[in-house]
Every structure is written in structure tokens, then in C-alpha cells.
Symmetry: C2
Subunit: 218 residues, 2 copies
């Protein structure tokens, strides 16, 4: 298909596609004349993924490029490819090693992973571990709970969702498609999960603080 059709089918303006091509977020099309290139379904799929990383994942272009490079790195086995691609996604702030709260947070994070039976030694090398420690340190500084008793329901929810996520990834054929799906579903289901949590909080708050009162008056 020509650039105009790629734009129409993806909903991404032509100028933006040209920018992504210049930034190597999208491979060049096959040249059919000196000035015209032809794009395939692979381009459409890649373009939509780029859009999701940038718009929903709110990634800078340079970060999106690194994630795409990790997706396409064929030098490793499937588990390592999945891990490297998802691990290349940007994470939150890094823990401050000087802060005593970081030490306490790391201890609780390790205790939690141990209790779950997760491979703490391996996972501690994985970028999201640092995000976890940083978030627990912030809870510690504010005086909010961050012990395993309070964290366990979150970890159990995460375990259940990881099974769903991997089931869905395994529905795709081919390693590249699976790695792409793992990245896309990780990024795209994050706002789904967070918005559902806020909606569930509003629903639960209504149930506790409003319905009870209404029942009392009835």
C-alpha cells in the first residue's frame, strides 16, 4: 500500500509516519519509484505498535526505539527475548541508594518475593524490581504500610494476571508475534488495570459510605 493508505488505515497522519520513518521507528517501504515506496501489513502492525508505545505508554521516541530493538533482537531464546523486550520498557523512578528507606524497602521486597516462592536472585536484576523498591521506599517515608501482609494481595493479583497475560501471548504464532504481543499487552493493559482499580475504589467507596447511609434512612 502507499503512504496515504497506510495513514488512512492506521489513523496516523502522513507527516507523523514520515517522522517515524526518519527516526527509524518504522522500517523503510520497498521503493517502487525514486519517490514512492510500498508498505505492507507488517508496516501497519509495527506502526500501530509504535503509536501504542508513544501514546498509551507515553514513551519518548528514543525509548520506543530501544523497545523495538529489543523486540527484534533474535540472538536469544524465547524466554530471554520476552524478558528483554518487556524489561526494556521504561520503569518508574530509581531508588536512592543513600536513603535508609531504600534499605528497608529492599528488605521487604526480598521478603515478599521469597514468600511468594519467586526467584528473588534473578528477579532482583530485572528493572521492575527497582521500581518496586522505589515505590516501597516512598510508602516507608510517608509512614504507610509496605510489609508483606499488606503487599500480598497485590502480589497475588499480579500472579493471577501474569497467567492470563502469558496465556494470551501464547495464542500468537511465531516468536516475533509473541514478543510483540507481550510488549503491547504489558503496555496497553497497564492503564486498563489502573483505571479499573480507580473505578473499583469509587464503586467500593459508594458501597461503604453512601449505600449504608441510604439503607439507614430507609
Amino acid at each position: 500500500m502507499r503512504l496515504a493508505e497506510l495513514s488512512e488505515r492506521s489513523g496516523v497522519p502522513v507527516a507523523t509516519i514520515k517522522y517515524y520513518l526518519r527516526e527509524q521507528l518504522l522500517p523503510p517501504g520497498a521503493l517502487i519509484t525514486a519517490k514512492q515506496a510500498d508498505y505492507g501489513e507488517d508496516h501497519l502492525r509495527r506502526l500501530r505498535l509504535v503509536r501504542a508505545l508513544i501514546q498509551i505508554g507515553r514513551m519518548p521516541v528514543a525509548t520506543a526505539r530501544e523497545v523495538l530493538a529489543a523486540i527484534q533482537d533474535e540472538s536469544q531464546d524465547q524466554n530471554s527475548r520476552l524478558g528483554a523486550a518487556v524489561g526494556s520498557l521504561p520503569t518508574g523512578p530509581q531508588p536512592d541508594p543513600e536513603d535508609p528507606a531504600t534499605v528497608a524497602a529492599r528488605r521487604e521486597a526480598d521478603r515478599l518475593l521469597d514468600e511468594l516462592g519467586w526467584d528473588c536472585g534473578r528477579l532482583a536484576e530485572y528493572p521492575p524490581y527497582r521500581t518496586l523498591v522505589s515505590a516501597l521506599a516512598a510508602l516507608a517515608r510517608l509512614g504507610y504500610p509496605y510489609d508483606t501482609v499488606h503487599l500480598a494481595p497485590y502480589a497475588r493479583a499480579a500472579e493471577a494476571l501474569a497467567v492470563c497475560d502469558l496465556d494470551l501471548v501464547e495464542e500468537y504464532q511465531g516468536t516475533l508475534e509473541q514478543v510483540e504481543a507481550a510488549v503491547a499487552l504489558t503496555v496497553l493493559y497497564e492503564p486498563v488495570l489502573l483505571s479499573l482499580r480507580r473505578l473499583a475504589q469509587a464503586q467500593e467507596s459508594e458501597r461503604r459510605f453512601v449505600m449504608v447511609k441510604a439503607g439507614g434512612r430507609g
Copy 2:
């Protein structure tokens, strides 16, 4: 306490505290001389909350100011105060009303909330609903599933966590403390949840793709 002690106890540099004071993220201290002010435990708690909103919640100063205003708004009942304060937190990108994927996404979102027995009419007015629709539309455009069957496990996880969240909020005494806790815990547990999900995915991927192979060789 003096500014220096507030800085030491919070770990926030004096220059940053002065900036927060100028930006009205922090109420002024009680003047004890023309040039010196005294700060209390309320200042310390508020300062840590501001820090959490900006560092962990990655909010611009203007947004943090709006969230603090919502926390302190005493004109409403407790459920409305909780809802308004948490609802004032920044959400993801807004859905594009022109996009056909948005229409399909809204239909699936409404179907999901209906099936859960949540108050769809009320929740559709709540900012996180738009984030949910926007995220579902992105899944739709990429051709990934966003139907109630695939979303239900996420929604059930959200429901279970909302009960934990509100239980924890109710442990705090006083409406202001509860509203502050609701905001802080919403913001601070988000990276906890997302990093645990990524760690759980890595653990589950290892279990499926590596341990099986190792078992096969053994």
C-alpha cells in the same frame, strides 16, 4: 521545627521546600521572627505527600496543587471528598471521539461495568472511565482482545484490591487523614502493582519456557 529540621526529617532539600512554599504546595509556617518560621508535624506529612505526588506520581506542580486543593475541599461528604480527591489525580490520554475504535471501546467498557454490577451511569462521569476507554480503543486498533471475557480477570483483581485499599483507608482517623491516605495509597500502590505484574510475568515466563525445557532434559 525550623526549616533545616524539616529538610532533614523529610529528606527534601531546603531550596526545594522554599520552592514548594512559593508554589503554595505547602502552607506557610508560623512566623516566630520576621525571617524565621516554625513548622509542625502537619507540614512534614504534607511535604512527604507532595514529594510522593511529584516523584512517584510524576505530576507537574500545577497538577499536584489541584490534587491538594481537592484533598482539602471540605464542602462535601466523605464519599464525595474521597472520589473528588482521587478523581483529581491525572489520568492517561483521553479517547478520540472521532475514532470508530472509541465507540467500540466504550460499548465494551459499559458491558464490562454492567456485568460487574458496577454503577455504570455514575462511573462513566469519573475521569478513570475515559482512561479505560482510551486504553481499550488502543487495544482495538492493534487487534488485541478487549472484550469482557479478557477484561474480567483484570476487573476482578481491581475489585479485590479496592476492598484492601478501602480497608486500609478506614484505618486512618479523621476525614482529612482518610482522604490523604486514599490519594497517597492510590498513587503509591500503582507502581507497586505494575512492577509486581511485570515481575510475575517474568516468573511465569521462566516457569513456562525455561523450567519445562530443563525438566525435559533432566
